[in-house]
Symmetry: D2
Subunit: 330 residues, 4 copies
Amino acid sequence: MIIVMKLEATQADINNVEKELTNFGFDTHLIKGTNRLVIGAVGNPSLRENMPLERMAGVEKIVPIMKPFKLAGREMQPDNTVVEVKGIKIGGKEPVVVAGPCAVESREQLLEAAVGVKEAGASIIRGGAFKPRTSPYSFQGMEEEGLKILKEASELTGLPVVTEIIDERSTDLAKEYVDILQVGARNMQNFQLLKIVGQTGKPVILKRGMSATINEWLMAAEYVMSQGNYNIILCERGIRTFETATRNTLDLSAIPVVQSLSHLPIIADPSHASGSWKLVTPLARGAIACGAHGVMVEVHPNPKQALCDGRQSLSLENFKEMMQSLATIK
Amino acid sequence: MIIVMKLEATQADINNVEKELTNFGFDTHLIKGTNRLVIGAVGNPSLRENMPLERMAGVEKIVPIMKPFKLAGREMQPDNTVVEVKGIKIGGKEPVVVAGPCAVESREQLLEAAVGVKEAGASIIRGGAFKPRTSPYSFQGMEEEGLKILKEASELTGLPVVTEIIDERSTDLAKEYVDILQVGARNMQNFQLLKIVGQTGKPVILKRGMSATINEWLMAAEYVMSQGNYNIILCERGIRTFETATRNTLDLSAIPVVQSLSHLPIIADPSHASGSWKLVTPLARGAIACGAHGVMVEVHPNPKQALCDGRQSLSLENFKEMMQSLATIK
Amino acid sequence: MIIVMKLEATQADINNVEKELTNFGFDTHLIKGTNRLVIGAVGNPSLRENMPLERMAGVEKIVPIMKPFKLAGREMQPDNTVVEVKGIKIGGKEPVVVAGPCAVESREQLLEAAVGVKEAGASIIRGGAFKPRTSPYSFQGMEEEGLKILKEASELTGLPVVTEIIDERSTDLAKEYVDILQVGARNMQNFQLLKIVGQTGKPVILKRGMSATINEWLMAAEYVMSQGNYNIILCERGIRTFETATRNTLDLSAIPVVQSLSHLPIIADPSHASGSWKLVTPLARGAIACGAHGVMVEVHPNPKQALCDGRQSLSLENFKEMMQSLATIK
Amino acid sequence: MIIVMKLEATQADINNVEKELTNFGFDTHLIKGTNRLVIGAVGNPSLRENMPLERMAGVEKIVPIMKPFKLAGREMQPDNTVVEVKGIKIGGKEPVVVAGPCAVESREQLLEAAVGVKEAGASIIRGGAFKPRTSPYSFQGMEEEGLKILKEASELTGLPVVTEIIDERSTDLAKEYVDILQVGARNMQNFQLLKIVGQTGKPVILKRGMSATINEWLMAAEYVMSQGNYNIILCERGIRTFETATRNTLDLSAIPVVQSLSHLPIIADPSHASGSWKLVTPLARGAIACGAHGVMVEVHPNPKQALCDGRQSLSLENFKEMMQSLATIK
């Protein structure tokens, strides 16, 4: 790390900082600039957080040099991770499409959606059995009943299924029925949940938190990986900004930025980002053109009757058109 | 709610929307404006989320009229809630000060801090036993050992103690040792945890999520209250903005806004918001002057050796000065 | 507009609001909901801003119904505007590419860039003669000398040229030399400048302000159009968010949103949005795939020696690769 | 500055970067860390912007060390600047209150407001003669007629007056009539206007742009100061965030942060920040308690009839109460 000293720092201040650094096992290098002194400190950066150097007299600021993530970073693993589930590869050359309703509402609804999206070319089926809702008075999901239906959909279509988990109990249940576990945006920094899904060893779709920096998102992946589970698919789903014309602002720049920093596959969710079905196809096209390894979209056989998020769901007809439109992007 | 029709909506579109509203039990009122039609719909708004009216031909947008929160809202309970813990009243005329270290690091550290902040005038002692850290490689807290020390601090000083809980297990443990449970910013929309703390019946400090609107924050309170637990203290701790000079931007406007919308007490945490101990006293003064029912600040007997957040911790000396400075605001 | 009354509004409050509305020439329609009263007011909304109804007893909030923009809106002009300059059509089916250096630095540099980008397929040449710089100590542009070089580049290549103007004087000069005037992000709400470029009658590229909502951006276009100049090309160039991995966050959702609200053509500038040349091609691809009518990118014959924004400039080689990559998106 | 090299940088990469730095007159210092190399470069940082080092092979990122502002910074001038206008000191120990209507609407309105706010204790009178409005169809100000009325108000009360200027013409007019020129938030990065007000030599209230970082704001002050005009009063007026309960988010942390970085006085404008008169008094209290050198608020003798911003204007009665409330903060 680099310690920038204040213009008015005294020699005693400098000596004290050097001594503190040496005590913590750092080697120090002094660089005398035109106006101020800068100290380069070489050593174990994890010691850093226990050294509030900012509190020492004469210190202006600290600039960390090392990236905080290790397992998730491309530096230690230059080759792309490809997550493979039931023969579907996420992170390879072909983009994948994850599709299905926001929530499992009934056997009929999910199976109709599953068969429909498969026919149109989807690779993975999604459906929520546990729904984290902003209001305690909203529909909270079919729970284990929904998981059984998801499993049936997987058997019927031969495609893997993904569902969101929200705590230890739902994770324990879901891992018996589905192929991929999803950590939602609101739980991206629920570190206990990250450890729990890490321990299952199952592939994980890790959504970006609404106000998470790319660094924090990769640190959340690091939590899962620190438990030995490296099968992580990152999912950009919009960040919170001042713009209210869309529910969130899909940050497509995050796709190439993440790909330069990390080896993990990354997909985008234009349905939750935009909150409007009319914006889903243009944004899905944009995500694939930017280099995303896939997209995740909401599809409902009858969006007008959806128990959640009907306004952002594609109908099966809309979905077919989206798939045709995506095919033209090379 | 209000349904705004498009300029080009046909009579058939209008008839369809009216029919749909009538089917769901709404009374409709048509208002013909200069250019476009607006439909007022009177009925049970909770049905609304299952009616994706935005998808119907001719509909431009939907404007909800009712507030989504009920128990947390001032409309149903006009009088201020005062949460009382061991004789300390939060939400009354006198502002309270919650103080103590970020993390319980040792018996000596916590007891020294507890005695020190009590002497300087603090009303409640804080200390973290379970630490949700951005990095899996950081100190994660003393857990039950830390809870025991917090209890001892409470017995020694006679003051109530608060600690953050992060999942079901930590809640089950903490409720046996401490007086107030804290839900951290990253868990504000961990709805499972909100239900669990709701069921304990213990007073809860509910921090605002980093990117939570005031509406979402009150809906999180609603989750806790929907379990029958009305002892909630809201805590503004900074929101995420583009400004990087401070860790977050303390949103002091939220104090009077929340007080107009809700009867729940509200305090502010300038330590986490700013990330810098030098900003804590001016912002604590600002919060009290804005009408906050109290402040929560980090105090460490030896900030330079703190295992977490040392750069934002006040020393006991700093804390005494802050208390004197707060006393001049009437 | 809709006036939502408070739960506790009295009959006298309601009467007063109705009377005020009637005085200002509005027709009123009362809708009695389950809990509260809502008043629909039909009349001239421009009177609204002189009626601080929010101050009246019993009023909770006002919901405007009409869109604030008229000339820029699609409602009054359903067909797409196509801006044509020297035979180049912006807003038609074929996306256009505007390319060239951040600043005109010398005759040699600009002509080399102009010929190079034309050969690779660009339709319009850009180059800054007046540079609005964050620091007063930075290079501020070649001014009229630069405009002459831009004109020469246009004559040499047969392509139209665009340059940014920053005040009345630079507009007066530029309109004699270039084909398109650009209003930069920092001047999007410099209403005096908007009027001045409106009066020139020349085509205008209007960049979105860093923190401008889509509504405000369209209102800025309305300013230009209110002077009788309808040749406006909107340009999304990134909005300010908490994410620091990119300079700004390119808001590609704005492309389809603007296209639904307005008939004006819209392009995207991935160079300024990202601040990094490595992100330009993926984001340009994303913009075109989302439906943008074109992109504007920075190209420098020798980016390492650029006097401004070298880190985000493509070399001519990079630009050729981008053009090939864009050609594959249909 | 510090150049952080990539993990995989080769010796040739390092040599090239060193050579480039040496060519530009920098001294280089190599620090070999555990994993990667860091180069400290000592020299004239203004050369930096012409060196796109980020484009060189092996370079990961550049960390600037020097602050970009000089004249506005506290390093070069440790003592607080006190701006004195007609005997009123801004930046001293006593907070000042600037008050008056959003716009000058008539002689009667302004004089009534001026006399009223003086009686209640205001130190400076404000009133807009040129109004930058989001809509071209809104009231744009009384212009020179308004300036004459402002001058009369100053003569009547003996207090200095301030008005916003929006371009060269309005500046030329206003400087003949008023004591202080105001640069509005939307013009904070209208660098031409900053130079023009710099050249007048008159005291300037410089509002923070809605999405301006504190650094950019101080650089805007630097523009004015670079013309030899050091009489600058900074004014925090809210930044744009995702929260919609208030018009903007008043960033009170900016008060102590600016005071640590700069010697210039700083005041706050709770009227524009919040957009609601009910929030003005609590936020004005908060600003003074945080250490602001004053506040600027909108006061209208009859807010219900205000031609602009009536919903955020205090009545004279409200203003008196605010003044009494501010007096209790020490």
